[in-house]
Amino acid sequence: MNTLPVAIGLPYVPDWGQLRAFAPELWLIAAIVAVLLTPFFVKKPNAACGWVALVGLLAALVSVFVVGVDGTGEHFRGLMVADPVSVFWKGLLLMFVIGIVLMWFSTTAPTMHQGDGPEFFTLLLGATLGMSLMASTSNLLMLVIAVELASLPSYVLAGFRKTHLAGAEASLKYILFGAATSSIMVYGLSMLYGLYGTLQIDGPGGLAQQIATSGGSALLWMAIFSLIVGLGFKISAVPFHFWCPDVFEGASIEVSAFLSVASKGAGLVLLMRVMMSFASAQAYESTPLLNHLAVLLGVLGAITATVGNTAAFVQRNIKRLLAYSSIAHAGYMLCIVSLLVRGPAVKADLDLASTAAQVVLFYLAVYLFMNLGAFTVAGLIERETGTERIADYAGMGRRSPLMAFCLSACLFSLVGLPPFAGFVAKVNVFWALMQNGSWWWWLVGVIGVNTVLSLYYYVRVIKVMYLDDSSSAPIWPHPLGAGVAVVCAAILVFMLIAFGPINRLAGHYSHFYGVDQTTFTAEFSSSQPPP
């Protein structure tokens, strides 16, 4: 294994198979180039750029389906991996960003300054590229690049509404926070390199294995902490969440929606990959390192969920409310990530870890539609009425019954009530935690209490829409955006009914490459449904 993965001086020519595995990323890059070239051909490039981006994203999504898990393996000399988890995440991400672009057409497009479109979509696609790479890195260097590639465009996107003071503030806050956390992360990762002399995470001689053989040290813990700081910022885990509400409030609505799902999801998938590597290298034994790591993540998740839910109580702005809600949901998912590094080893560990990954992937899939729907409605209402205040939603049940219904569906789903898919996502979470027993029961309790807490503030929005009346005029939302919202609500019901197949799908894709290779291939090649 090279100490530096890219040997200097030797020309490296990737073969077709390696490139094919990253076809979605290549399509995204092509789309970025196309978006940049569009203004040369079109006079008013905003909408055209939107369409170009849409086509690029669709092509990338199709390529995800076409390539599928064929390209599973390590590529580019170990810099990147392609595996079922990354494929699943890319599929979700691209679907979501397509939704975001459609949302942009129906909310921000008419008011966006003509000529800003190319920049906007370059940044959006660039961030998307970074987020899909985040799911495919198994190398510290690539990890930093992917995280930065996802972050830097996001900073600019957050402040994209140039005329908004809040946007500038949000962007600045985001940059400062991001810079601080990522420098801490890079510092910690450099320590890892210093300790073990390699940038590879997986594989023989990789970090995970060396850690497993050499055991923990104070320096290692510092490195792990700093990694969690860096990724915790992306996930907006407490106490690295302060940027989240301000950025969501300051940024335009489709950017908030984009960050709420894509940024968190990418961070979670990356965190899962790293944790899974650690745990796998230690054969899922009950080592102190893994035990402490599990407790650390579990406590982080519990605190994140509780802080998110309690802070959401006092919010008056729908975007801030959804920001805190997204923090809470990140907390739930972090609780599940703590299962990946489950300490007490019994036979079915890999199953268990995969189950945890499956739960997170399913949760992300549901969370995507809940948030996309909620943000879309908020964006449409903002466009028609110019307000983000929850109090101004009064009478929405009468003024726009369809939008009020879709938003209510998404919010009930966020609480976790049937007949919406948020319910089964939550059942999944409870199930996975309870299956582990021991101290995870505390997390069950915390999430249970949090669910009741969350009901109050989600229902408060619904209350304003249906119970409070106002004399304001009815509103007619943009049909495209309304379509997105309705589709989201419908999918939420559909995902509850089709919970079995979709969960099985998530289970099929919940395997990481390089994690206990033998079991991995056996598991994945067999067509048996996961337990």
Binding site: L417, P418, W431, T451, K463, P531
Partner: protein, 544 residues
């Protein structure tokens, strides 16, 4: 035909109101909305009457509860829903659910007629109303724990809106309070549901529960129960699960001290919704106790009987005392619900066939009486626009027909023999005294329980007296006494109101004089089987 009904009638019953709700959404004007909704509730009621054709009251050998052959559960329809968790779409009916299903369709029909004067957003109201009916029927008919939970929760959402949008001045507070209280219980129930499933996954050696099950029929089977015990669902774990599920159901019932959402919800809800809330939604809690908490956690139920019994008796007495102190007519009726539902909880705690039969009867009779009482209150509120007891008086002379109907409701509620309220109370009390006999299930735990059982039963008897006290006092304050000038011009009950009151009155009398023919014939076999099951489970656990 009968074959088809056997397979599909329950599914049709559950989803017919949903279909109606969708039709309502496409209706053009207010009248067509109303008539579509009424047509749907009539159709659902008619479909539920078909149950008389298919429901076999005499099956079951009085011993095997819920078992395939010789069991009392019938008209079972099952389809795999979520394969990886063995969750099924599983519906079926037995003597526990049969009366409640009929009660639900009956009350929903009457509540729909009572909703005729809803002017605000009629379309939304009727759609939610019908959606609620689906949730209710689904809860009573599903035999899969997961499916039960989904329907149990499903009934929350429409109720929140129905109270919150069409309610009185403090509707928002009442609606969110109702929602939060119920959700607290539901989360506990969700934990129980998943936890039980995880234990069933550890069972080995029983082929049809391999890989875990949510099937309530299987969960209550003695061999599965025994295997669950070996798998670790005993002692503290079982007690925790029992208490968590009881929490969910006792909030719904509601029992003291978890009852405070009820008076608020009732006072604020519009009259038809109060009728449904009191007559049906509370029964979902009682039904859950009999369907889930006791058969699935029998050992914990038998060891925690005293707690449940005390909760029941305290609800009876405290509810009655609170009712006596109310100044608001509707609050009084609400607290009287708390008091009467206490008998249901007491009946469950005593676990004798008579007590359980009585508790089931109590649920149905209270369903009829409370719907009638709330409608009676609604009528006077429509005219007087207030509900203060002290400001009423002498209504008997201006509204004699109304007073006649009211008196039937009041006397039924206070338990006058010949009316339906009497039978349930007597059966529960009788069953409670029987529980003190040496051959009862509770006495298996030792002779020392005799005193405690007798005390509970005797204290519960005082509830009957208290009920008579506040009911008679209310009649006196509202209907008798000198005529007040401000009520002189009140119109007599309208034909629509008579249309609602008459069937309720008829049922109150019929159930009162012919309880066996109209009720016990349908439940008795199931209750015996239910009791037989618990007795067998007691032996199972004694041998463990």
């Amino acid at each position: 035909m009968v074959e088809f009904l056997n397979n599909w009638l329950l599914t049709i019953l559950i989803f017919l109101p949903t279909a109606g709700a969708i039709l309502v959404l496409f209706a053009r004007d207010r009248d067509s909305v109303r008539w579509t909704a009424l047509g749907t509730t009539i159709a659902t009621f008619a479909a539920s009457l078909l149950l008389f054709v298919t429901f076999k009251w005499d099956v079951g050998n009085g011993y095997g509860y819920l078992e395939g052959t010789g069991g009392v559960v019938q008209m079972v329809q099952r389809a795999s829903w979520i394969k990886s968790f063995n969750i099924e779409y599983l519906v079926g009916i037995d003597g526990l659910s049969f009366p409640l299903v009929l009660l639900s369709t009956f009350i929903c029909l009457l509540a729909c007629i009572a909703s005729w004067n809803i002017q605000k957003m009629t379309k939304g109201y009727m759609a939610l109303f019908l959606f609620l009916e689906t949730g209710i029927l689904g809860t009573f008919l599903s035999l899969d724990f997961f499916l039960f939970y989904v329907f149990f929760e499903l009934s929350l959402l429409p109720m929140y809106f129905l109270i919150g949008i069409w309610g009185g001045p403090r509707k928002e507070y009442a609606a969110i309070k109702f929602f939060l209280y119920t959700l607290v219980g539901s989360i506990g129930l969700l934990i129980v549901l998943i936890g039980t499933y995880l234990f069933t996954r550890n069972i080995t050696g029983i082929a049809d529960v391999a890989g875990g099950t949510f099937d309530l029929i299987k969960l209550a089977r003695p061999d599965v129960q025994k295997a669950l015990g070996t798998a670790g669902l005993v002692g503290g774990v079982a007690k925790t699960f029992f208490l968590l599920s009881m929490l969910a159901f006792l909030i719904k019932v509601p029992s003291v001290p978890l009852h405070t959402w009820l008076p608020d919800a009732h006072v604020e809800a519009p009259t038809p919704i109060s009728m449904i809330l009191a007559a049906i939604l509370l029964k979902m809690g009682g039904y859950g106790i009999f369907r889930i908490a006791y058969p699935v956690f029998p050992q914990a139920a038998m060891s925690l009987w005293l707690l449940v019994g005390i909760i029941g008796v305290v609800s009876i007495i405290y509810g009655a005392l609170c009712a006596m102190a109310q100044r608001d007519f509707k609050r009084l009726v609400a607290y009287s619900s708390v008091s009467h539902m206490g008998f249901v909880v007491l009946g469950a705690a005593m676990m004798t066939p008579a007590a359980v039969n009585g508790a089931l009867f109590m649920m149905v009779s209270h369903g009829i009486i409370s719907a009638m009482m709330f409608f009676v209150v609604g009528i006077i509120y429509d005219r007087a626009h207030h509900r203060e007891l002290s400001r009423f008086g002498g209504l008997a002379s201006t509204m004699p027909v109304y007073t006649g109907f009211s008196t039937v409701a009041f006397f039924a509620n206070l338990g006058l023999p010949g009316l339906c309220g009497f039978i349930g109370e007597v059966m529960v009390l009788l069953g409670s005294f029987q529980a003190a006999k040496s051959d009862s299930l509770l006495m298996l735990g030792g002779p020392g329980r005799h005193t405690a059982i007798m005390t509970l039963a005797v204290v519960a008897c005082f509830g009957v007296i208290l009920t008579a006290g506040y009911m008679l006092w209310t009649i006196q304050r509202v209907y008798f006494g000198p005529q007040r000038p401000e009520y002189k011009s009140f119109p007599e009950v309208t034909q629509r109101e008579i249309l609602v009151l008459t069937p309720l009155t008829v049922m109150a009398i019929l159930l009162g004089i012919l309880p066996a023919l109209f009720f016990f014939v349908f439940t008795d076999h199931t209750v015996k089987a239910w009791y037989g099951l618990l007795a067998r489970l007691a032996q199972t656990y004694a041998g463990l």
